[in-house]
Amino acid sequence: MSEFWDLTIRFFSLADANVRWVVAGSILLGATAGALGSFAYLQRRSLLGDALAHSALPGVGLAFLLVGEKDFMALLIGAAIAGWLGALAVNAITRHSKLKQDAALGIVLTVFFGLGVVVLTHIQKTGAGSQAGLDSFLFGQAAALGERDVILLSIVAVVLLSMVALGFRSFTLLSFDPGFARSIGLPVRVLQFVLTTMIVLAVTIGLQAVGVVLIAALLITPAAAARQWTDKLSTMVILAALFGALSGLLGGWVSFLAPRMPTGPWVVVVISVVFAVSILFAPKRGVISRLRRHLRNRGKVAQEHILKAMFKSGYPERDWSGYQHVSDIDSMWSFSFREMARGLRRLEKRGLLERSDGSYRLTEDGVVEGARVIRRHRLWELYLTRYLELPGDHVHRDADDIEHILTPEMEAQLEELLEHPEYDPHHQEIPRIGREASQ
């Protein structure tokens, strides 16, 4: 255990020159993939990165065959060319046949990868040199990155990041509405080609650290996670880059702790955790916050139903001074007792109900509020029958849902549109208590 802490401290203190390289490389790689992945994700071409990465493999093998040693530069060039040919093949297949994107990706991915395996096994069997280094391209080994490798990787990463910044606007329009982009004369084909090439390069520099098989996750997952936190593309790209950098860093750490351990899978696990947190807890879009909103909304609906029921019971005599027992209230409407009890408590707190030993009555404000709910319900019914020409018996359920979401402005519009009607389609009066008082 103490070895674990020793190594961890050594890693994060950046005391080792070697560690510094791995950290810098991993962070830059993660950031680049995250930023570029945002555009691929928004174009719904997430899995393109996967296909490109797999199709880079024969390039790695062929470069090795030609150069005869594990030269990072040569391998990068080989991988980039092969990956880029893969991208062309995907385009050609979807453009010239009835096969869709998914099939094209699958075909290119497997066939190119198969070719890569053929080349690699051929090298292995003919014994054309130690190929221990080549294996690390499958699942990644960040610790195997040397100083020169990292410098090269960093240069490519910085160039790619600056290109993202520079072409940000054009890539945005390209991703959002390529048809319109073409209509105003943007060179859409060229831009798409540049973007694809940039993705190929990002994938290529990630091969050593993360590996062919899982680099796709570094493009997709940070982008999908970042999207949950913001509605602004620039923020999204920056966040995705940060998430990518974080997972790259932690991947590098794992690789430092256990040099024989493949790095790629750990990078993927880290970034997946970031994604899970995002999809669950992000404000607005997160599952939890949406669940809470939903519950709050249900609570509001229950409260309004109570108000409506109690208002109706006192309406014929215009007298709401009598207290009503909880069981009577319960019998007025069909919601669960617990929900009703919670609604009663909330209404009391809001000062719309008064309680006296287990019985409740509406306060003055409560009467106004109850009238408001009923008024909206009946206005909506009238609107539906008049403007959509729906028969009167079809509109009640719909109005039941709408009465809770109509804003005062919409209510005012309805009143105006319907010329301040007195009766709803069922010839029930539309109450305006509180309205006159406030006018």
Partner: protein, 299 residues
Amino acid sequence: MSPDLWVLITGILAAVSCGVIGSFLVLRQNAMLGDAISHSVLPGLVLAFLITASRDVLPMVIGAAVFGVATAYLTELLDRTRHVYRDGALGIVFTLLFAVGVILIAIYADQIDLDQDCVLYGEIAYTPWDVAVIGGQSYGPRAVWILGGVLIANVVFILTFYKQLKICSFDPAMARAVGINERFWHYALMTMVSLTVVAAFESVGAILVVAMLIVPGATAYLLTDRLSVMLVLSAVAGVISAVGGFYAANWLDASIAGSMAVVAGVLLAGVLIGVVIGRRLAARKAVAAAAAAMGITRM
């Protein structure tokens, strides 16, 4: 029988069983789901190994089916939040599951008789020596029995539920309209894909599995619009790829599984080029036809 022949038979069985079931993936535009499942069954396999400490078929099949269906389900779950695009969701799910599988293998390396590379390449060349022995009697390679079983299961599945699978693949809306539970058939299909994948996985490796799930089906799809014809053609394409790949591998002294994938790709490329040329000619004819038709009806 010579070992070579067994290898060839294993390859053909894997190619055909993947090809026929994969045709539905291509038709339903779910090809990448096949790719994803082929990766994400890995933790299921590893867990089955770890728990039972054996290579029995049943636990493996169960593990794979669970994770295969989980992939499809989790993707759908993310898709349904409407805050993650479907293809992105698929990528997120399968990379995570595969990563977990690889980590498990790395951690329990000494207890598992699987290594990371073998997961991808497969060791189809060794299948003849891994024989099924029952009561001291040898009955030929295990892989042949397992893959043969899966092929029969796939064929029976497709023949029995042909009508449902067909309508769900061509027109899901219509399927729902006539009361066929499209979702059920989707998951049934994914279960069969998972079973096929796991059976082929261990003996021929993930790469050949995915290639054979997608490429022969796609080749067949280029050639016909009829499902029954497509299924037969995908099997034929699978056999050609397996046989061609086997000899190519011998000639190149390289991975058999990889070579089979490459031959499948070459076959597809050939068909694609043929189809494109054919269509160019047809389009030219169509213009002439249009002109002729205009002449007839123009007042």
